[in-house]
């Protein structure tokens, strides 16, 4: 049996890998409001596995049955996704049009733009799709003091 330490270190290593995805590569975090992050059920309409920004388009239905069309930015680029095992074929299969997902989004700072930064996607089987795809809220990185 593995020791608690070994298990923890292994989990920590996984965390390090997915945490590496937290960093914006293209300075887009300034568009989104992390304080308004929410989770909802959605239906995929289109997924583009492209450099430097993969994109996810999806529909969200409200309690009255009204459908809103959303556009989502996927922060990690394909180079980052393949490091955690999410190549194009696997990603496109998991996010095929019509797939029902549970998605966590940080919406645009622009009211009712229906655009957001995708923080997390859970597939129908409970699988975490594309890993943890959150983004560094600052859009950049701290710099050393003078």
């Amino acid at each position: 049996m593995q020791s608690n330490l070994a298990v923890a270190l292994r989990l920590g290593a996984v965390f390090l890998i997915v945490s590496a995805l937290l960093f914006a590569h293209h300075g887009t975090a300034t568009s989104y409001d992390n304080s308004k992050t929410f989770t909802t059920q959605a239906t995929v309409t289109e997924f583009r596995y492209a450099n430097p920004h993969p994109q996810l388009y999806f529909d969200v239905k409200d309690d009255q049955g009204n459908v809103a069309h959303w556009s989502g930015e996927i922060a990690p680029n394909p180079a980052q996704l393949i490091q955690v095992g999410w190549g194009r074929k696997r990603s496109e299969a998991a996010l095929a049009p019509g797939t029902v997902i549970t998605i966590t989004i940080s919406p645009s700072r622009v009211m009712d733009a229906h655009v957001g930064l995708v923080q997390k996607i859970v597939g129908g089987s409970g699988e975490l799709v594309l890993g943890t795809i959150a983004l560094n809220p600052g859009g950049g990185e701290p710099t050393p003091k003078k």
């Binding site: 965390f15 590496a20 995805l21 293209h26 300075g27 887009t28 980052q80 190549g87 622009v110 050393p144």
Partner: protein, 298 residues
Amino acid sequence: MHLFAVLAGVLLFSSTLFAQGRGGPPLARIAPSDKAFDPHDLSGIWTRNGTPGGYGGGGTCADCGDRGFSNDVPPFTPLGQKLFDANKPSYGRLLGSADAAAHPEEAIGRRRAVPPANGTDPYQYCNPEGVTRALIYPDPVEFIQLPDRIYQHFEWGYGIRTIWLDGRKLTDDPDFLRWWGFSTARWDGNALVVESNGFDPRTWVDHFGYPHTDKMHLQERYRRTNYNTVELTMTITDPQVYTKPWVSQTKKFHLLPKDGIKTVDGWTGLLEDVCAPADEVDQFDKRVRDPAGGVTHK
């Protein structure tokens, strides 16, 4: 000790690392090596990337320097100030935010980010990054060293640059400017000294929007300090913009093994991280980036 207590410690440690913008764990590949090396041989795939794989954008490795040219910026000339003010970057702390106000120790260039839809970053439209920005960006760069030249092949943008080692001199006032400039180099002891000019002024020095003119002269000094490490210091001389030469923070690159970059199919070598307008400008910018910043297209 309980599992979750240990895990919490690991997570706290790693979170601290990333909060500092320094990237990944202390990998074996970035440890100094006592393996023999030729200090005049810079060939190989080098990276400043902090992810476990050493590629893929994001933060820099722990000892590699940050993603700006330098936080110590010389005073601008009046023209320099005008050019700086005209550039609207999307990296750094959000303009006018409490976060920006809380870090007065940072140069103002690092505290004035705007949403990309409202910015002027030339790379948002897939224009070439230019030499300094490409070198600073934390993705791998392959040095291909021939007897009379060195090619630097950048994964990000998949751009290539030629540094001549055949003894030629720079042209004083090049007839036609280049995104990647004109570069010639010589060995000064164990330091490779690269002199460049003829840069297209539409590129930025770094992603914080620091400007330069077509009169910018760039000197780079590369020094291989051990088998695994190359150090780089850059100096910009552009008296139309900066009142004195601007010396960069020392940047470090670490050697990636030949199979260090690998696709899910097992294909090794630099990835093709191309910013293609067909994907970025026609799709992402119009359908995501711009509406996220309040700019809509009919």
